[in-house]
Subunit: 355 residues, 5 copies
């Protein structure tokens, strides 16, 4: 629900296929990094101008172009023209408010999904959009370029040819990228799990209005997660069933594994949602219990003074003939009587378990 | 839920296939505009009588007839007779209370959907019905003709042959029209998103009964949106799977894009619904908290005066033998005692966190 | 939920295929009317004995037998024997507590659905069961025969051969009958829509317990509607997909139209249900708000008198040494002081927005 | 939720295929009755030992063996060995806590469902499990043997060859048995319907805590019904689609009829569930309204006495200079004033509609 | 929601296919037991090193290797290498936070599910993960090795060749293992059923805040169960439809039986969830009723003293001319009057059923 500087609606009125950046501009520079590898070796370089990457297109080796920052639509357009990408896809890359999805353009696949991370600023769960274009021998990834880098371990694996990484195709690279993103969800979820536990411990003993705010934040964050993860599942399922030659059969076992992970994430998210909803009810009922307990005590104090005040009133009356006035011990007797009444009432309330 | 001048029920008792206008008559005149184009050029004209459009039917070029105002069933009937349209379809065009749908009549397709806009009058979300009839080389569009014109940019695109618009067929024109309508949903949604944010900010700090009204209005508007957008999704899906020669294969990529947009809109609408429901609960609980806090304070004031009033009563009694009466400093001592009691109670309540 | 004179359970213990009337007997006489028509002419007559209709069976022309009153199982049995109908179907006709459905008996179709109307007696939405048996050249309709007649316009259309009605087959007649019934739903729905609007207007300003009763009645009526209309949709869908020669292809376009209407009705019913549910919540919350507001005012009055009563008590004490008693203006000063206290409290409460 | 003497868990640790009785033992003796019939005649006998039934197996005629009491696993085992039944099925028969289902063992079908009845003891809805094994020429039915006998009318029909019952096969017998059970559901439902009506009438006028208990009992009973009837529907659907030669085509029309009945039962159950849920809300809100009304009246009484008590306190003060004390008519004037104040407050509250 | 020592997130950053133990380490030693059997005999031994099991791989007889403890990833890796298992599967075995699932690796099947048991420590429902790898002639099972042993009866059955167990293949062994686990669910469910009953009995008579905690624990436990049992159903369904030669046709009848059991468990879990949700509502409403009843009684006491205190105040006034003061029996008369007023109020409240 962040206040957007650039909104989706600014595209209204434009003909289809216009590449316009939609979303917050999260950094100024655009970083472009290329890794090109095959069984025999790796070539890695950071480029300034997108044109420097074009040479890799026609090689047999696997090329991974990583672009951080999608607000510079120029780069996207140039890339698109050189590779012959569909204009609608370029439009989608620049629009950071996409729903996770997979589009099959026969010669290449377009995949868009959401990275989840706790903002280092205010500890709130945020999403960042990541897009992938995969062909037979290349993967181009687009990030918004905000914080963190979950892809570094993959670069390591490529450099060291861990688990014979470099023998596998571009589809395995794509899988590894998606897997890295999905894995990062678990951390966020565990974090939320701990927060939920903490709230639960506090909830019954000592509920405060701040607790309610935490619960509502958790609820909102779960909505964010849900919106990211449900379509993700669909996406991976579609990828698994893809019939083109881009996704090879032996990679599908791996995709099934990621698929299982997304299902597990969905399961956890739904369980958390259930728990958080329940927590609101518990909070409200225990807050109302606390309030009622206070009211009851106050009311009981008032009720105990009722007959006492009445009696004091009675013996303040000015009738001529009130025999009690003349009694030697009238006054202390009355005190005793009033104390007895108070005691009896307290005893009665206690026995009724009202106190 | 607007009070309808002309209701659906007035058709009860008529045999099927009777073209009757149902809905509010939103303007008096009916505006008819024709654009006829092919690769080589564009011909544009505003006509008075529908018969002037008939000449375009048998040309190879693409013809777009736009009719604003559906209350004049005469025009619809004439057009229907000349083009040989099915009477049930003509009936549907005149009925502005349709559910979005797509009907396949083999030689032409009938599509009806809802435009969404914020009424300039009272800022409430309203819908306007738009119908399309598409054949191989024509699109006929029917609007209720209320406010705004989301089709103007398309006319521009046709005139300037933007993105080689004029090379594409009637199906691409249809897609562009639908896309323009779907795009306009985003604006309304962003607007609602901002309103929801505003309400959320106010909600916990300073809830007023007016806030509740805003929430209920938002809820109603989301119902309106939902009713428009769920069947829209179905409609576009059906269009995508259409087997006739009217929708060509290369247009289906574009339809998939609109389909993704509708899914995104549905997602947002459902998320908003969740949030708005949650907001009602927050409102109620925070209103009830505020009320309880007031009650507690009032009750505490009353409770503090209870023993004081009692003591004052005691020393207003008329017993003969009350030693305190004779004490030199009886009166000021009592005052001190009463102040001490009040202080003790305040301290007790404070320590218990009741104040 | 009406108290039934004749219940479904009276069939327990009977072997299958026993035709027994179940439901209220709504009128004493059974009215039988026959219309027989083809392109060339119409023959219309009201008959006393069902046997008079039998002659029409073997003619080429379309025969519509309309029977009002299903409590006379004799008529149903005779008809069934002559036409060779399945005993289970005859059983179903006599049972007025059916769920709308379509049964395909190869040579004829059995359709049962619900007519909806506002009872003229107490303005409550009621249902009446209507059954149709359709063969290649006949339609037999069974009504319970309570109020109103939505079929009269159809008779008119047959007599005058409106829209070339008489050229169409028995399936078109069937469609027209169903359409007439479905159309009558819209009237009831519009009526409810208006009631809902009225309630909504009253709800926030001036909720009364009577309002709650109206809401609950609406809710119950919507349940009735729902039970009638959800299976209706299924029924028409099944009819549309029917493979026998009874339903011709060109009639299926018309059935699609009725299908769209039922979907629209379902949509409206579900929207109303949502709104009515929401209304109960609004009612409860605004009733509770009203009550709380009253309590708060009463409590504030009590709180203002608390210190005043206390002060009056203080100056009713009988201590020997109370200097204030001797003051010349003690009494008026006290009054001033008490007025000042009340004023201060009122000001405080006002500033806190408690009043 | 009945306390079970013999529980499902006692089977833990046994290898699969062990026939163990699970559930309450509802009677001591096991009653076995055989009816063997064909077109020409009926043979009926009550047997002591299950072996006496074995002779019927190889006859052409239809044999119906009815066994009341499933706690004697010996009988079940012997029968199973002679007929060559699968051990898993025998296990299922002895386990009275089955979910309704249909198992196809190619040469015979196993069906288990629930009979519903109002316990004659405490008027609470209970279930009894009934199992059927059907082959080409036999039906073996197992009941728990508690109360009532819904199969007697069928025996009558067989004896008298009603509707040419004896010409039909074992599948028609099976259908009739299921139909008899399903029919008995309607009685229970009507009973609940009446109870719901009664509760509804009482609910708004005169809600008592006993009403709440009735509602909760109804809710629990509906859960029981639901658990019996949802899988029943699935079961009959499966039976209808069965491809073996056991279920003949002409019997499937009858199964469709039972299927419709189960759908109707499900509909009613779901409607009742909706209504009962709504009733809890109505109960709570009307109970809370009643309570609030009482509180308001008490509060108003207290508020009216507030200023009066204050005034009485004022004129109990002991200031030297209080002119009112000297007035001739001070005392009666004060009474008049106090009565006037009370009247004014009552008028104010009445006008505000607080009383 | 247990606090995990080793978390899922520690895998973030590792390339796919890394076998890392995730979850609590529940015991130190890893127990390995092998049973090898065929029709002719059984060989049983507990081994220290996993390599001792390798010899069994190439025999015709059925081998069951049971490994308790999955934290020693060395063992898993060695086993995997020898048998040629997929690295992703080894990764899954070591990860004890899996969702129940079945993966088909053509030559062997991987199955993971959850055992449910009441912790002997604190009586809370816990889960333990169990994995199975099944090939044509072997089953390898992995347990976390916490408490209990539900497989002992199976070992007995193998030793004694009960029900000709040793003739069946590895798939039957797999089935028996799954069946043993599923059977153990029933015990836990019955236990919960009894707890629910106990809570229900207490709920209306005597609700305490401890009751609420029990309800919330039950709710959480049901969430745990649900998460274990819904995917289990899917798993067994998939197993039933498996097309490889590992699962033979005659075993599928048995799998259908387990499938029915899981459905029954799901049914019960869902019913319990419904009941537990309802119980929270009952608890809240009866707690609020209790509180309101107390408030009402206190309020009524206060209200009765209101006029009495007022009267005492009146006769404490100091007007010169108050005739009552002079009356002989003024004082006792007033007492009588006050008693009469109290009685009248009590009578009024009683008649209104407020007490």
């Amino acid at each position: 629900m962040k206040r957007l500087a650039y909104k989706r609606s600014k595209k209204s009125g434009l003909p289809p296929g216009s590449t316009v950046h939609i979303g917050e501009k999260k950094s100024d520079v655009v970083k472009i990094a290329v890794i090109d590898y095959d069984e025999n070796g790796v070539q890695e370089k950071a480029v300034q101008r997108i044109e420097e990457c074009f040479a890799f297109r026609d090689r047999q080796s696997i090329t991974w172009i990583n672009i951080e920052g999608v607000h510079d639509t120029d780069i996207i357009t140039k890339l698109g023209e050189y590779y012959g990408f569909h204009p609608l896809m370029l439009e989608d890359i620049a629009n950071t408010q996409q729903r996770p999805k997979m589009d099959d353009y026969a010669e290449y696949l377009y995949i868009v999904l959401k990275m989840i991370f706790k903002s280092s600023l205010n500890d709130i769960v945020k999403t960042e959009q990541v897009s992938f274009i995969t062909g037979l021998n290349f993967v181009i990834s687009f990030q918004e370029g905000v914080e963190g880098d979950v892809f570094e371990p993959l670069r390591e694996a490529i450099r060291n040819n861990k688990n014979r990484f470099r023998v596998m195709g571009a589809d395995y690279l794509l899988y590894s990228l998606i897997d890295a993103i999905v894995d990062s969800y678990f951390g966020v979820l565990e974090n939320m799990g701990e927060e939920i536990e903490t709230v639960e411990d506090v909830l019954i003993l000592n509920p405060e209005s701040q607790t309610l705010e935490t619960i509502h934040r958790l609820k909102r964050e779960l909505i964010t997660l849900r919106k990211a993860v449900w379509p993700l599942r669909e996406l991976i399922n579609k990828l698994q069933r893809n019939e083109t030659s881009i996704i090879k059969d032996h990679t599908k076992v791996y995709l099934r594994d990621v698929y299982d992970h997304t299902i597990q994430i969905i399961d956890t998210v739904e369980t958390y949602r259930d728990m958080v909803s329940g927590m609101i009810d518990i909070y409200l009922s225990s807050a109302s219990n606390r309030m009622n307990a206070i009211m009851k005590v106050l009311k009981i104090i008032a009720t105990i003074f009722m007959p006492l005040t009445f009696l004091a009133g009675v013996y303040g009356m000015n009738f001529k003939h009130m025999p009690e006035y003349e009694w030697q011990y009238g006054y202390p007797l009355l005190w005793l009587f009033m104390i007895a009444i108070s005691g009896a009432m307290l005893y009665f309330f206690r026995r009724k378990k009202w106190i």
